[in-house]
């Protein structure tokens, strides 16, 4: 019967999703417990901060620049209709700081750092390096996962703050080149209409996105099964889970802080 088969498929899918959510929650608990007496592997943390943060700067800056420019281009018709060029900076800045900036930077970060992290942990899992660590009485959570989670949390926040600035510059550049809006008009449009509250709204979001990306990517990395194909599949699952959690968190944070 078709109905029965659909029901079985739906149920299997639901159980799989529940298992993943439960696994991620468990890992969150383990990470928090490992942080309680904060014994950190400082060298590993610094290495991860550099690798995940500094080396993602070019792609994040480029993305942010285009995002800022895009928002100006999109708001152009509305601004033209109202005849108020002083509103261009308001519309673009508001959209970039609160929504587009954190989301696009988060998605890029998830693609570059989160996916890479899943691939790396996945490779270590399929080559049984995690078991090797356990055999040496080294806790993989404390040694491998905690520094990565912290590094992603810190670096996504930092990259979003830098990206916000780059996006505003991008908006001003595109406004000048495409719409002939003076630099000064743009500057005062930003300064008069944007509040620190808009900026912090985006920063809170980036902290939450960083946590979500870190936990999903680590979870899918350490649960890989089945060789090279499994690693590819895990990376795929990790980026999808990260994208869904970014959108859900965005929704809840927007409503919670309004």
């Amino acid at each position: 019967m078709i109905g029965e088969r659909t029901l079985t498929l739906l149920g299997a899918r639901a159980i799989a999703v529940t298992r993943e959510v439960g696994g991620i929650a468990l890992m969150t608990g383990q990470v928090l417990r490992a942080l309680l007496p904060p014994r950190l592997d400082g060298r590993e943390l610094v290495r991860n901060l550099h690798r995940m943060g500094n080396r993602s700067l070019p792609i994040v800056a480029l993305t942010a620049f285009f995002a800022g420019g895009l928002m100006v281009v999109q708001s152009a018709p509305f601004v033209k209709r109202l005849g108020a060029t002083s509103l261009a900076g308001w519309a673009a800045g508001y959209a970039v700081l609160r929504e587009i900036g954190p989301i696009l930077i988060g998605l890029m970060f998830s693609g570059r750092v989160g996916a890479n992290n899943t691939a790396e942990l996945g490779t270590m899992t399929v080559t049984e390096q995690l078991d090797g660590l356990r055999a040496l009485a080294i806790d993989p959570i404390r040694y491998l996962i905690v520094p990565r989670v912290l590094a992603m949390l810190i670096m996504l926040t930092a990259l979003t703050i830098i990206g916000d600035l780059v996006a505003l510059v991008g908006a001003a550049v595109v406004a000048y080149l495409v719409l002939d809006i003076d630099w000064r008009t743009m500057y005062f449009s930003f300064a008069d209409n944007l509040t620190p509250h808009d900026f912090f709204h985006g920063v809170y979001k980036s902290v939450a996105f960083g946590a979500a990306i870190a936990l999903t990517s680590c979870y899918f990395g350490v649960t890989v099964k089945g060789g090279a194909v499994g690693v590819g599949r895990a990376v795929n699952a990790a980026v999808v889970a990260a994208a869904v959690s970014i959108m859900l968190l965005d929704f809840f944070i927007t409503y919670a802080t309004a």
Partner: protein, 274 residues
């Protein structure tokens, strides 16, 4: 005699190496695009051979299996965007009757195609690179070549065609969900009358055309970039992981850059009245 090269020489080499690598990668990327287009012409030309049902199977893998993902993410982002927009409009202008008109214009000409494609770049791009990359490192591509089949023809052409069709289809669905979710938010949270909101007066054929062009372009770019990343995979599982990462970043960035180029181009074409 052969002393270590002096500092300026080393600095020049360090600067030049990424440039050369980037130029080579760009050439290779265009090679993949041209190879795919040639493969399409070959397979549909006289005496062309196509694996049966390959395009349909890929359409299922790319389209149907992304349906829930695209619907959920675009629904939520539609609600959030509408919420933020209403918040600002009620503060700055105090009039929410324009919100729906502007939102529909933006969804049709930009947010619908671009955000759908960003989501697909994540899911589909990673999938294509992981699949082709695993085949590369397990030497299945060499086996294909040995039996006289070009890997691009066999693997990338069906994905390319399927991705274009399915990106357009999912864009239409995603844009509709986004618009509906936005309208619901405006109605429930800000009391905007749905009849005022769901008014298509602002949308003109050029907005629809721009949205369609964007969807087709993204649908073509995602499999090309991710296929290119998969074909470059080296080593074992680590190489596949790297290829997948590169595919997600590359195709997401391609979507953003193409969006920017097409939007600016359209703005110029229509003299600022996009």
């Amino acid at each position: 005699m052969s002393a270590a090269p002096s500092l300026p020489v080393r600095a020049l080499a360090a600067l030049g190496r990424p440039v050369v690598a980037a130029a080579r990668a760009t050439l290779e990327l265009w090679g993949v695009l041209i190879g795919t287009l040639a493969g399409i012409i070959r397979s549909y030309g006289k005496g062309g051979r196509r694996p049966r049902g390959a395009v349909l199977a890929q359409m299922y893998a790319i389209g149907n299996r992304s349906l829930v993902f695209v619907a959920v993410t675009l629904g939520f982002i539609g609600m959030v965007m509408m919420y933020q927009a209403c918040l600002q409009f009620s503060r700055a202008i105090g009039d929410l009757s324009q919100v729906g008109l502007q939102f529909l214009r933006l969804v049709v000409s930009d947010f619908g195609p671009t955000l759908t494609a960003m989501m697909l770049a994540t899911r589909v791009g990673a999938g294509i690179a992981a699949e082709i990359g695993s085949m590369k490192v397990t030497e299945q591509l060499d086996a294909l070549r040995m039996s006289g089949v070009l890997p691009i023809d066999y693997l990338l052409v069906p994905r390319f065609l399927a991705s274009i069709v399915m990106t357009v289809a999912l864009t239409i669905l995603g844009a509709a969900i986004m618009y509906g979710a936005g309208g619901l938010t405006a109605w429930l949270s800000f009391g905007v009358n749905p009849r005022t909101f769901f008014d298509p007066a602002m949308v003109q054929p050029r907005h629809l055309a721009l949205g369609l062009i964007k969807a087709v372009t993204y649908g073509a770019a995602i499999p090309i970039v991710s296929g290119f990343c998969g074909l470059r995979a080296r080593g074992s599982s680590e190489g596949v992981g790297w290829a997948t990462t590169a595919a997600v970043v590359g195709s997401s960035f391609a979507v953003i850059a193409l969006d920017f180029a097409l939007s600016v181009g359209a703005l110029w074409l229509f003299g600022g009245d996009l």
